[in-house]
Symmetry: C2
Subunit: 334 residues, 2 copies
């Protein structure tokens, strides 16, 4: 029960109250040097009486570190990112850090308030989930900042990242389809400014090639967005083909679900008439009917690994990127 109703007490008030110097107060607060038992007690009493709490700003200023990490999230509403955030949190918290949120893609321009507020050494480091082409310009603006990328990564840069092997994951997904006897396998990709989309697309091509299946360009579609509506749209176009596919690999679950909805609306059964495999294993994919066969990324671990990377970097190390394992989760849709 603190006494002060008005202004926050400062360290000097505590010192006065306890009849010691501010240095001593600082020492008991940080247990940075031995302090006599009774002195310590007097200080602690004063702290309690005044409801004193260290001013984090002042501490950070003198220490030269804020214990704040900036997290760049393209879209909070994306459950995919949420799990990563949890992973990040779990490790940085143990190290005494907190997260500052940096926002939407459009706030990522140089003169944005977000950056002005944040890059000014408020944060000790950055974990970015943003897409690399949004970042590249920024990155060269702030050579000093410890930077780490999660899930995405930045080609030709020394920014360490934690991610899965998107291409290999796509190979696995398509290979699964091939193993099940499919040959006319369609690809539903997303805006290929996204590295992951490009890489998953590549994986599709590799798998097809390896199996000696020629790729029908008609069967390759780029959705206009990642929302499931765009999945429906693109799937519709696919159905309009003379020679319809028997399977579909979508580079994201939302797209896959949109496609399934479109297929069913067209009277097709999934997976009997057309098999579908997605990517991401979003929460929805498990609940949706038919439950989605998809590639699961270890999202929590991804976040944790990225955080670990940053922590090592902060400790003066030069960690190298980590590639984590994906899994093919077989459910009902394929």
């Amino acid at each position: 029960m603190s006494i002060n109703t008005s202004k926050a007490a400062s360290i000097s008030e505590v010192a006065a109250h306890a009849g010691v110097s501010i240095a001593t107060v600082s020492r008991v607060l940080n247990s940075t040097k031995p302090v006599n038992a009774d002195t310590r007690e007097r200080v602690e009493t004063a702290v309690a009486a005044l409801g004193y709490r260290t001013n984090a700003l002042a501490r950070s200023l003198t220490r030269g570190e804020s214990k704040l990490l900036l997290l760049l999230v393209p879209d909070f509403a994306n459950p995919f990112y949420s799990e990563i955030i949890k992973g990040v949190e779990s490790v940085i918290r143990k190290a005494g850090y907190s997260l500052v949120l940096g926002g939407a893609p459009d706030t990522l321009s140089r003169d944005s308030q977000a950056l002005d507020t944040l890059y000014n050494r408020l944060a000790d480091g950055v974990i970015s989930l943003a897409h690399y082409h949004d970042l590249q310009p920024l990155l060269r603006e702030m050579p000093g900042l410890p930077w780490v990328s999660c899930s995405e990564f930045i080609p030709d840069s020394d920014v360490p990242h934690a991610s899965i092997d998107h291409q290999q994951a796509a190979v696995d997904a398509v290979q699964y389809l091939i193993n099940r006897g499919h040959e006319r396998i369609a690809l539903l990709s997303a805006d290929e400014n996204y590295l992951w989309a490009r890489q998953r697309h590549l994986g599709y091509e590799v798998a097809m090639q390896r199996a000696g299946i020629a790729i029908d360009p008609q069967l390759v579609r780029i959705a206009r967005g990642t929302d499931y509506v765009f999945g429906m749209e693109a799937a519709g176009a696919l159905l309009a083909q003379k020679n319809a596919p028997t399977a579909l690999f979508a580079v994201s679950d939302t797209l896959a679900i949109g496609a399934i909805k479109a297929f069913r609306r067209a009277g097709l059964r999934v997976p009997e008439d057309i098999a579908v495999v997605g990517f991401d294993n979003v929460p929805l994919s498990q609940v949706f009917e038919p439950a989605l066969t998809t590639i699961a990324q270890p999202m929590h671990e991804l976040g944790a690994a990225a955080a670990q990377l940053l922590l090592e970097r902060l400790a003066g190390g030069t960690p190298t990127s980590r590639t984590l394992q994906h899994t093919l989760v077989v459910r009902e849709s394929a």
Copy 2:
């Protein structure tokens, strides 16, 4: 293109480089007082040359405000919160604030690092999405902090909040069912330590009473969690009744979806055999089949309103809580 590869330049270096005093630099940086055109230019050149950026920590310390707001989120993985966060962001950003994330419920104990790191005047204020019983102890620890609650609220406190009228929303949902001719309406509630669960439960009772329908205690279930599995579980129990319900009101969409899965697995058709209405209008509810009839909360607006409240509070005002409008979204499940 900045020159410094090593350490960040400080204001005094800029001053030296421009041949002016640090006061002048500060003036052009903040345009707080008139400065001669050529002096200004010299300073600006120096700033550019040195790649100088204001140290946010130092600025905050002198100004006595950090422009940082603490956001308490019980669970990042919950899409419901994500939308709120976006709403919050959109308004605070305009006011020059950034968000610091405060974490999971279990980190909310007094001695947690999260709080130690943050409450120490690092943040200028707090927006909480956490449940009130998690907060009450904290709240009395820090009488000084401008605090605002979103979606949840704290009974018998002077903490302003932005939320919908949960009880009335539940009344609307159940009334809708009644209007469609249902009488044996079941309630699927959640842990009633949650205020919203209690209030929605209450709404159910009010609606039933008003319609003169006696409530069958057998038809009222409390799920063991909010995950959809618990919805399935509880729905199973409901089906085991001698006198099965013809409709169900679930206090959350995830619960509703779980229930629907269970119903269908038992050979029931939704909504023909049993109608279901949910609550929250999570993204999934639109995609799920059958699409969910549910109560939509204006999540973005909720976040924005809460942020607005906090801003007013920060400006010295004493804003009063705001109740926003919910909507019944009629889709396929009822």
